[in-house]
Structures are given as C-alpha cells and as structure tokens.
C-alpha cells in the first residue's frame, strides 16, 4: 500500500458512461513518479474523459482512481495545489489579458515562479498584454502552457497541449517538458502526435474505446510488434505459407515480402537463408504502425497479444 501511494496516478478498471456511450470501459493507467507518460489514442478514445475524472471535473461510474495519493473527486481542492493542467482547447475570458490569466491561474494553484513565467513568455514569444479574444488558437494554447509550466506543481496534466502550435513552438514545448522532467516532475501527456510522444515519453499507454490496449516503454512496445522484411531469394520459395509469425506474406517470383512478429524473426530468417538470400531489407516497426494496428477496427485485438 505504501508503495502504491507513491504513484502519482493509479487508475484501475475505470468506467464512465454518458447516456448509452461507454466512454471509459475499464481503463487501467499507472504513471510513475518522475516519468513523462504518453497517453495515446485516436479521437474519442476517452483520453480527455479519463483526464477530467483525474481532475475531479467528472465523477467515475466504476473502478478506482488515485491521484497523488488522494481521491480525485473528494480531495480535489487539496490535490489541485500540487498539479497544473493544460486543456487541449484553452478558452480564455475575452476581457482578460493573457498575462492576467497566467497570473490568476497560477495564484489559484497556490503559487507561480515569476522568473520562470517571464522566461517562458520570452521563449514562447507570447505577448501577455493582448486580450483573450485577440489571441489565435496557438497563442491561447501558449497562455495555458506558460501558466502550467510556470507553476510550482509536482504533476503536469497536459491534454493534447500543442494543438495549434507551429513546429518551432513545438520544439520549445519539448525542451520545456524535458526540463520539467529533469526537475523531478511527473508529466501525463495525452497526444496523438507520434513524433512528440517518441521524443518525450518514457512510458506509453495506448487507449482505444475506453480501455488500455497496451502499456510499457517504447522499447517494450516495439518488441511486441513486427519487423517488415523485403527479400530477394536465390530461388522461388515454397513452404512459407505455414510459417508461424509471418503476416501479410506476398510472394512474387523470387521476391518475398512479409511482416514478422519479433519472436518469430529467427525462424523466418532461417527459412529464407535456407533458400539463399540475394538481397534483404528489414525495417523496424515505426510507432506509427504500432498505433495503426491498435486503431484499426479490422484487426482483431487477439493478434496483438
């Protein structure tokens, strides 16, 4: 139990329904102290619903959720002193300036590092004097980011925080998140920008239809996936059809293309070299392929396991 309470986020079997829609269907999510945890899923997978439950904005219908050792619904106010949140679509008050919103949110969380605030404004090239309605989408996001990053929080909850940012600002954002991690802060980063996740995250949870379908380090996840093989053989092969672990096999004369489960790689290569290999290209799985496999409906989930 004591070990559990050190986990910043610990969610198990979380259920949330809206009318007939089951937005969360037994979600498990564990975020360890000091890590940047990627929370990935297609639109409508339930990422924002899970985050809103963790923030005490929504109430779970079932399962348990622990946040910084407390109950996200009952202890909301106390817990919120220790976290900062950036929504995917920052909405601002039309008659408040960006600087005012940053200070207000920081003060309501219980503190704001002035020096860091000014430094962040400079790095994000944000004019804090503009009124809320005068900001573009990207600049509204920057207001939310500066407010969160300048606050003195143990946990950052970022829900697709970079939507609308240009690539330069995306770069600044990634630097900032790395600095936060170096300071020992924990980050939950929901995203569907794969490069961002690959660049930042120590561990990843993939969510689909309200349920975690995969969780682990990127290396672990890659291990679960397939390598693409494109080989030219000495002679037309036979007996490849019944190869275990080879998928999408296409034989075109002496050319063989397939995707191979990591565990079956040895066996497949042995069979190929037994025929004789003239040329071979192999490509490790990209994160993209990993996601696509989880996102696409046609592929049964069993195939992944």
């Amino acid at each position: 139990m004591t070990q559990h309470s050190t986990l910043p986020i610990e969610v198990s079997g979380l259920v949330k329904t809206f009318g007939r829609t089951r937005a969360l269907d037994g979600l498990d999510l564990t975020v360890r102290a000091g890590e940047v945890h990627g929370f990935l899923g297609p639109n409508g997978a339930g990422k924002s619903t899970a985050i809103r439950i963790l923030l005490g904005l929504l109430r779970a219908d079932g399962g348990t959720a622990r946040l910084l050792g407390g109950d996200p619904w009952k202890d909301a106010t106390r817990l919120h002193r220790r976290l900062a949140y950036v929504p995917g679509d920052v909405t601002l008050w039309p008659n408040l300036s960006g600087g005012e919103v940053i200070d207000l949110l920081g003060r309501m969380r219980g503190g704001l590092d002035r020096r860091r605030r000014d430094e962040l404004l400079e790095r994000f090239e944000l004019d804090p004097r503009k009124k809320g309605r005068a900001y573009s989408k990207g600049n509204r996001q920057k207001v939310g980011l500066v407010a969160a990053l300048a606050s003195d929080a143990d946990l950052l909850v970022l829900d697709e925080p970079t939507s609308g940012l240009d690539p330069l600002m995306e770069e600044v954002f990634q630097e900032c998140v790395r600095e936060e991690r170096d300071r020992g802060r924990t980050v939950l980063l929901s995203s569907h920008i794969l490069s961002e996740v690959e660049a930042l995250c120590d561990r990843v949870t993939i969510i689909r239809k309200g349920r975690a379908v995969e969780t682990g380090t990127l290396a672990e996840l890659r291990h679960l996936t397939r390598t693409s093989i494109d080989a030219e053989l000495a002679a037309p092969p036979d007996g490849l059809r019944d190869l275990p672990g080879a998928h999408g096999l296409r034989v075109d004369g002496r050319r063989v293309r397939c995707e191979v489960d990591t565990a079956a790689l040895d066996e497949v290569l042995r069979r190929l070299t037994s025929v004789g290999v003239r040329s071979l290209t192999s490509r490790p799985p990209t994160l993209e392929e990993l996601f696509l496999r989880h996102y696409q409906d046609e592929r049964p989930r069993e195939a992944v396991r």
Partner: protein, 543 residues
C-alpha cells in the same frame, strides 16, 4: 477597377439566401414560438376586456384610471379611446419593447456571436459575400417582425375591432422590431464582443423606453410630451392605433431604419471579420493583486454588466420619481377621482399606490438582472472556462459562491439605487426628501426576497438540470407576464400565486407583513442550496 467596385455591392450579398435558410433552420423552434405568443396577446386582451367590461359605462370607468394613472401611462403609453380595441392597444404598450429586444438579440446572435465563436469564418471561406451574414440576420429579424405585425392585426381584426386600429397596432410592433434590429446591426459592427454589442443595444432600447415613459407619464398635454418624438418607441404611441391613426409616423421609422441599415452595411464593409470599428485595446501584462482567486475573477466578469444595470436603474428611479408629482395633479383635474382618493387617504395615498406599483416593476426588472447573472455562471461552465479554474485549488462551492454574490447583492444595489433616486427626486419636488427616500427605497428593497426566489430557481436549474438552464428565462417570462398582465387577463389566483412578486406586501402605504418575505427568502435559500449541492455532486457539463 470601377467595374470591380460595381460588382462589389452585389458580391457582398452573395449567399444571403443560403444564410437566411441556415438561420431559419437554427431558429426553427424559437422563432415561431415568440412570434405566435406575442401575436395572440393583443387579441387575448380584447377578448378579456370585452368579458370584463361588457358595457360602454364599464369601459369608461376603467379608461378613467388607465388613461390617467401615471403608472399605466408610463409603462404602457397613452390611451387613445374607450372601445375594447383601444384598451387592448394601450395594455399591449409594453409589447414593442419585447419585440425590439428579441429582434436586437436575434441580429446580434446571428452576426457577432457567430464571429466570436469562429463559425462565421468557417462559412466565410465558402462562397459567401462579406455582407451576407448581416443581411440575412436583418432579413430574418425584420421578416419575423413583419409576420408578427400581420398576425397581430389579423387576430385582432378577427375579434371584431376596427381594422384600421388593428393594422396600426401591428405596424407599431413591426416598426419597433425593425428599428431595433437595425440598431443592433450597427452595434454589432462597432463593438468587438457580442456582450458589448448586446449591452449597447439594450442600453439604446432602455434609453428609448425611458424617454417614452417620461413623455407619456404626465398624461395628455403635459410639458414633456414632445419628448416622445425623440424615441422610436414614442413614435409607436404617436401612431395612435384605435385613435386618430397618424400613418405618416411610420415614415419616421422607415427613414431611421434606412439610415441605420446603411450605416451598418458601410461599417461592416470597413472592418475585418472578428474585429470591431473600435480598435482592440491592450491589457496589463500582469494581473493586479485583486485578481487572485475566484472572487476577483467573478468581479471582472460581472462588474461591467452590473454597472450598466445600476445606471439603468438610477435612470428609471429618476423617471419614476419625477413622474410621481403629476399623480396628485391628475386627481386635481378630476373631481370624481379626487373624492374617491380623499376617502382612501388623500394625496399621499394615491402617490403611495403609484410607488407601490412602480417598485413592483423595479422588482421584476431586477429579477431579470439576477437571472442573467446566474446564467453567466452557467455560461462559464458551458464554454469550458470553468475547467481551468476548478482544476486549480478552487472548490465547487467557492466557485459558485463567487458568482452568486452578484445575483444576491446586485439586485439589492440596483433596487436601493432606483428607490433612493425615485424617493429623492419626488422628495425634492414635494419638499419632503427625508420622508420619501426611506419610504420608497424601503418599498423597493422589499422586493428583494421575490427577486431572490426567481434567481434561486435559476440556480436550482443550473445545479440540477444544467442543459435546461436557459429555461430560467422561460420561468422569468412567466413571472413578467403574470405581473404585467395577470390582473388584466383575470388570471386565476393560483396562477398569480406562482409569481413570487404576487406575495410582496403593497408598499409604501400598505400594511407591512414580514411573514411572506420570510417565506420567500426561505424558498430562495432552499432552492439555492439544492442547486449548489446539485452542482457540487454532478459532472461538469459543456454547453
């Protein structure tokens, strides 16, 4: 170049038809409802008056009050005859204000609000002239008022009153709708936000109403009557439906509409989508110390509308107070009435009765502010702006409390300001300021528990059924209808009991009983607690 400019005017309106259809589709429920509801009202008044006062003598007796009582004159305008049509037309004198308000809000909703939410940009990228949105909003609002006028006239004429009078009354409604739709179109170009455009339009309407009240309250031939030529709402009463209809007055309305529409079109051609004519100002780079928590934030969000309402209430108080002295004079010219009044307790008694109904009216207006302030809290939630606040170390109860300070104390301030202003102005006129100020201010403040009850019903809706929160306006409309028209339409007592204002003691002059006020305050407290508790337990709900 000149060719391009020539085409420009036509191009600006490309797609207007499609936009009209879009607006009609979005408003397909609300538009027919308000048009029909308002259109049947005057005909219902006619039927009611025929039932209440079947003979000419009955009607004469009623006309003697309604044609001379400053409250009636101020609120509804002059009486132009004694047939049921004329009585109904006077009683419908508040309807142009409602039509004007609805039309103005419709125009702003389909122009400025669309720009603010970015939906306008989505459409602007399609084949759509830059003036199409504005033109379509105006066409719908003006078309609706035209239909409303026609239906009003048809329904009344079907009831057997003079057709000319019925048509004139219908046109009076239409004119009010057209003028304020056009005025709102200008306001939507000048300001940058929908809120400011609404505020500007409502302020213009309020000013037009106040001027008309000041002009009519003193009765026929008073020194201020010329003022009504300065107010588009005053033109409506000068049209004199069921009197000697002055049709040419409609030309004044048409001319003003043409000027306003041209101005709006010109301004809209000169600005960017999303921008106003007035340049956006920069704000401070850092928040002042006062903006540190939910209360500071609520103050920033509520203070500007509150100041607007307070200014409006101060003006209303001055008008109500200024008119009060004429009440006694009316009695002087009318020996029969004077005798009755003396029996009732003399000149003070009739002034008291006047102030009692005036403060009742202030109470109903204050409830309108209170409902709007409660719904501002809901708007914060629906627009997701509440989320970052509640995701900071701010509890649900504290967040609500910060917002609810305004519907709780705002009406108190508004009623105190209006009551004090009315009492002071009348007190200076009659030489007894020390007596009248507390008398009228006290009577105004006695409305507070009823105002709170209406506001608390809105709090309960926000907490327990957030998606139905806008129905608070329906409840408020019911209270307005019961308070303004309940006696005329001879509504059953149980219906009138629904309005909290029906339970407020008649003050000044009447007997003060604390019990109903305590009960109302208790009902308000229970509803508020239910709403706040409901909000604390439920999910945040986007709009």
């Amino acid at each position: 170049m000149s060719g391009a400019e020539n085409r420009g005017a036509g191009h600006a309106l490309v797609g207007t038809g499609a936009m009209v259809r879009l607006i009609l589709r979005r408003d397909r429920a609300v538009l027919p409802i308000w048009v029909l509801l308002i259109a049947v009202m005057p005909a219902a008044f006619v039927a009611s008056f025929e039932g209440l006062f079947p003979t000419e003598a009955d009607r004469l007796r009623y006309a003697r009050t309604s044609g001379t009582s400053p409250t009636f004159l101020a609120l509804y305008g002059p009486l132009h005859g004694t047939d049921p049509g004329a009585l109904a037309a006077q009683r419908a004198g508040f309807i142009p204000v409602i039509v004007a308000l609805v039309c103005a809000l419709t125009v702003i909703r389909h122009t400025r609000v669309e720009e603010e939410t970015g939906r306008r940009e989505l459409l602007g990228a399609t084949v759509l002239g830059r003036g199409a949105g504005l033109a379509a909003a105006l066409l719908v609002a003006m078309g609706a008022s035209a239909v409303l006028g026609a239906l009003t006239a048809a329904a009344m004429a079907a009831g057997g009153v003079s057709a000319a009078g019925a048509v004139a009354l219908g046109l009076q409604f239409t004119m009010a709708g057209w003028v304020f739709a056009a005025a709102a179109a200008v306001a939507a170009q000048v300001t940058e936000g929908a809120g400011a455009a609404r505020g500007l339009s409502v302020a213009a309407l309020g000013a037009a109403f106040a001027v008309r009240m000041a002009a009519d309250a003193g009765g026929r031939g008073n020194g201020l009557q010329w003022l009504s030529w300065l107010s588009p709402l005053g033109w409506g009463t000068r049209l004199a439906p069921f009197g000697d209809e002055r049709w040419w007055v409609l030309l004044l309305g048409a001319a003003l509409v043409a000027v306003l529409v041209a101005a709006a079109g010109m301004l809209s051609g000169r600005r960017d989508v999303g921008a106003g004519i007035l340049p956006p100002s920069l704000g401070p780079a850092e928040a002042p110390v006062s903006l540190s928590g939910p209360f500071g934030l609520a103050w920033r969000l509520h203070s500007r509308p509150l100041y607007g309402w307070l200014a409006g209430f101060a003006a209303l108080g001055v008008v109500f107070g200024g008119v009060a002295d004429g009440v006694g004079d009316l009695v002087k010219d009318n020996p029969g009435l004077e005798e009755i009044v003396t029996r009732l307790g003399g000149r003070t008694a009739i002034t008291d009765a006047y102030f009692a109904s005036a403060t009742g009216l202030l109470g109903v207006f204050a409830a309108g502010y209170a409902v709007s302030a409660v719904l501002r809290m809901r708007a914060e939630e629906a627009s997701l702006r509440a989320e970052p606040v509640l995701a900071a170390a701010v509890g649900r109860l504290r967040w609500q409390a910060a917002h609810l300070v305004f519907p709780l104390l705002g009406p108190a301030a508004a009623l105190a300001v209006a009551g004090t202003a009315a009492g002071l102005v009348h007190g200076l006129d009659s030489g007894d300021a020390g007596g009248w100020v507390p008398r009228v201010a006290g009577a105004a403040l006695a409305q507070l528990p009823a105002v709170w009850t209406v506001a608390a019903a809105a709090v309960a809706l926000v907490g327990l059924a957030p998606r139905a929160a806008a129905a608070s306006w329906g409840g408020y409309a019911a209270v307005v209808v019961i308070s303004l028209f309940g006696p005329t339409l001879r509504m059953d007592q149980w219906v009138r009991d629904v309005s909290p204002f029906d339970h407020v003691p008649e003050l000044p002059g009447g007997e003060f009983t604390a019990a109903p006020l305590v009960w109302l305050a208790a009902a308000a407290a229970v509803l508020t607690a239910a709403g706040m508790g409901g909000f604390r337990r439920r999910d945040l709900s986007p709009g």
